[in-house]
Symmetry: C2
Subunit: 425 residues, 2 copies
């Protein structure tokens, strides 16, 4: 018997049929002898509907009231799923964030979980009930309702898994798991059987959208094993967990991001404090920027490039216009047709030459590199957006990630090989 925490997103609950499908899955677990806690998001697009309603009476709804409102979306889900489970003949108990003992900080709209008081959940499980918890929400110590911000239901699930000591936290989504690359871009992409927390964090930060970063960070901090899998089939998904140093693939996956633009400030005087002034102005406008690269230029001046979400360009331009005017800088260029590609693998630490192979592969395929940035287990490059598919396919093959040459160049862990073999049976 295991104690399983599961999480289902809004897409998995968008229709009564899907709700009953989720309920059947929970009942199957229960009948196999497991204890089950399900964390649910708001059904389908209902969160958007609530936001629209709020805006219809107040274009800037106060944060506390927004949380009191948004929390109802998950409350509807929890009770509907509980009803569906009971329709299948097993007793279920739905719980709001408060009833589930999810105590958070006092920061409305993006509260952090401070404590899980799991007594009620544990006693309902001991009574043989399936427990359905409203995701995304908690309660402050003074009794106000809070929400956890983007991806909050994943975090609820991981936190509850830690709080009740679950064997695994299953996150059901609309994809089969974590892939070496997005299969829509690289048809040869294959699903990973397992990936380490730090690799998952780098992939998520680099644009892979499967799991929310905060939930992965939480899982890493509390040692919760996440099983990321599809709500629409029974295929095994991807385990996200601690990897020992011996078992790390050189490259686990390739992420990309087409949503950014590149800004280059030309002929910046090579003087102390200039960069601080420019980026200080940008930060003051609350605009998040990503990669920053400074290139050496001739004659005592440099070029500084950075990337920024394309949606922020309109807000960025006036900030930059006034900043460069103050500093006597001549011009800046904006390139809106870029793509960022990131190669991630924990094995990079002990395997030099990954960057060299990446750059050579791109050169062999006539892909020009505009910017480079690296972390201990990630190399990111900015290229021309028109070349993204060529670049992804070439890198995917070069790092041995294609599904048909799996054993040639990557270093699979023993467990991963065993899982692979099991799948082949």
């Amino acid at each position: 018997m295991s104690l399983i925490v599961t999480k289902f997103g809004g897409t998995s609950l968008a229709t009564p049929e899907r709700v009953l499908g989720v309920a059947q899955r929970l009942v199957d677990y229960h009948q196999a002898g497991h204890q089950v806690v399900a964390v649910v998001s708001a059904m389908g697009k209902s969160t958007d509907d609530l936001l629209r309603l709020a805006n219809s009476v107040n274009p800037n709804p106060p944060a506390r009231e927004l949380d009191q409102l948004m929390a109802t979306g998950e409350m509807v889900s929890m009770s509907i799923v509980a009803m569906a489970v009971e329709a299948l003949g097993v007793q279920a108990v739905s719980m709001t964030g408060r009833q589930a003992g999810i105590v958070t900080t006092e920061v409305f709209n993006k509260a952090k979980i401070a404590e899980i008081q799991a007594d009620r959940i544990l006693s309902e499980l001991a009574s043989g009930h399936i427990v359905i918890v409203a995701g995304f929400q908690g309660i402050t110590r003074t009794g106000d309702i809070t929400t956890l911000g983007r991806g909050g239901s994943d975090t609820t699930a991981v936190a509850l898994a830690a709080g009740v000591g679950a064997d695994v936290c299953e996150i059901y989504t609309d994809v089969d798991g974590v892939y070496t690359c997005d299969p829509r871009m690289v048809p040869a992409a294959r699903k990973l059987d397992a990936i380490s927390y730090e690799e998952m964090l780098e992939l998520a930060a680099a644009g892979a959208g499967v799991l929310q970063m905060r939930s992965v960070e939480f899982a890493r901090n509390y040692g919760v094993v996440i099983h990321c899998r599809s709500a629409f089939n029974d295929n095994p998904g991807t385990l996200v967990k601690e990897a020992s140093a011996m078992e790390q693939a050189i490259v686990s996956g390739i992420a990309f991001d087409k949503s950014e633009s590149k800004v280059t400030i030309r002929d910046v005087p090579d003087r102390v404090g200039i960069a601080a002034e420019v980026f200080g102005a940008i930060a003051a406008a609350n605009i998040n920027i990503d990669m920053i690269v400074q290139n050496i230029s001739e004659g005592g001046s440099t070029d500084i490039s950075f990337t920024v979400p394309a949606g922020e360009l309109a807000r960025l331009r006036p900030v930059l216009d006034s900043a460069i005017a103050n500093l006597g800088i001549r011009e800046y260029l904006v390139d809106e047709s870029i793509a960022k590609i990131s190669v991630v693998g924990a094995g990079m630490r002990s395997n030099p030459g990954v960057a060299a192979r990446m750059f050579k592969t791109l050169a062999d395929n006539n892909v020009n590199i505009g910017m480079i940035s690296t972390s201990a287990i990630r190399i990111s490059v900015v290229i021309d957006g028109a070349q993204i598919e060529t670049a992804l396919a070439a890198l995917h093959t070069a790092f041995g990630l294609d599904s048909d040459n799996l054993f040639e160049e990557t270093q699979l862990s023993g467990e991963e090989l065993a899982a692979k073999a099991a799948k082949g049976r």
Copy 2:
């Protein structure tokens, strides 16, 4: 400065414009120096939408889960109204049943309020905030969400008014107040300035739909003055309150009910226990019946008539068929075209002759009386449904209720006369 508890129904909150109208009313009170608590129902038809959703996954949703679900309708309202108040520049705090300290019995779907823990509401009021409370819901001592059943938001408002010691509980609805009779049936009907709790209870029981009986009972038990008025204009409505014995009108209002049918069981043997047997079988089938009259018949047998909601006839017939067969009774007759008319007035106690005047008025208008039943302050008759408008108009005039001969035959209280005079200014 007064402390005012207000209650707004779903119709008053059906659109963003109406929500802002309600918010403006609360802000006006606040700016006039009053402390304001607003109790809100679910917006428009949202309760029906939630019920439909529940039934889509479970035709018999479990009671606890139904309450967890239904309570979200009022939670949406409370936060939307709070947002609207803040949009008008006054700070507002929404509260769930739990946050408002509404402790109930453990009976899901029809819980009764056991206690109001008003500390949080009082401290928010002291801070100058407008408090918006989700109606219809509470919390058990073990933390489960309950709902109060039909008309629950009215009861929430009255209970909170008692709990916080409000000066008045204003119940906003889609009509101007309590009328001497339904103006759609009797154009000469006029709004009452005040009515006693017991008269209001009799009128509500007899079919007048303005206020829910439970909330009036609660108000009577705790001495809460209810002001029943329209959400769509500023006209003064009707005060429901304790009436001293000196101030009672002979007839305050006339209610009617067209939703019942009359059943007559013919030639019942005049034997002890027969009635008990028949009505025992009906009660066992959980069918509520209303007026029961036994007429003396010739030859040692009697006729027994009673009324029953027309919607229950289909369930009643097989029960009666088997009951009369067992007792050797020959037949029963069903008349589906009846109407019940009730004349209510606390002054009846000290003014004999009301029944006589009622019967004479009906006779003068050729309206035949099929059944009669009375209480201390009410006389009800069953007549042919086709004659209902004739009967109502004649009785309304005969008891001096018409708006143009107000002073002729009723006994107005001093306060009512003063209010009447004030209105005429």
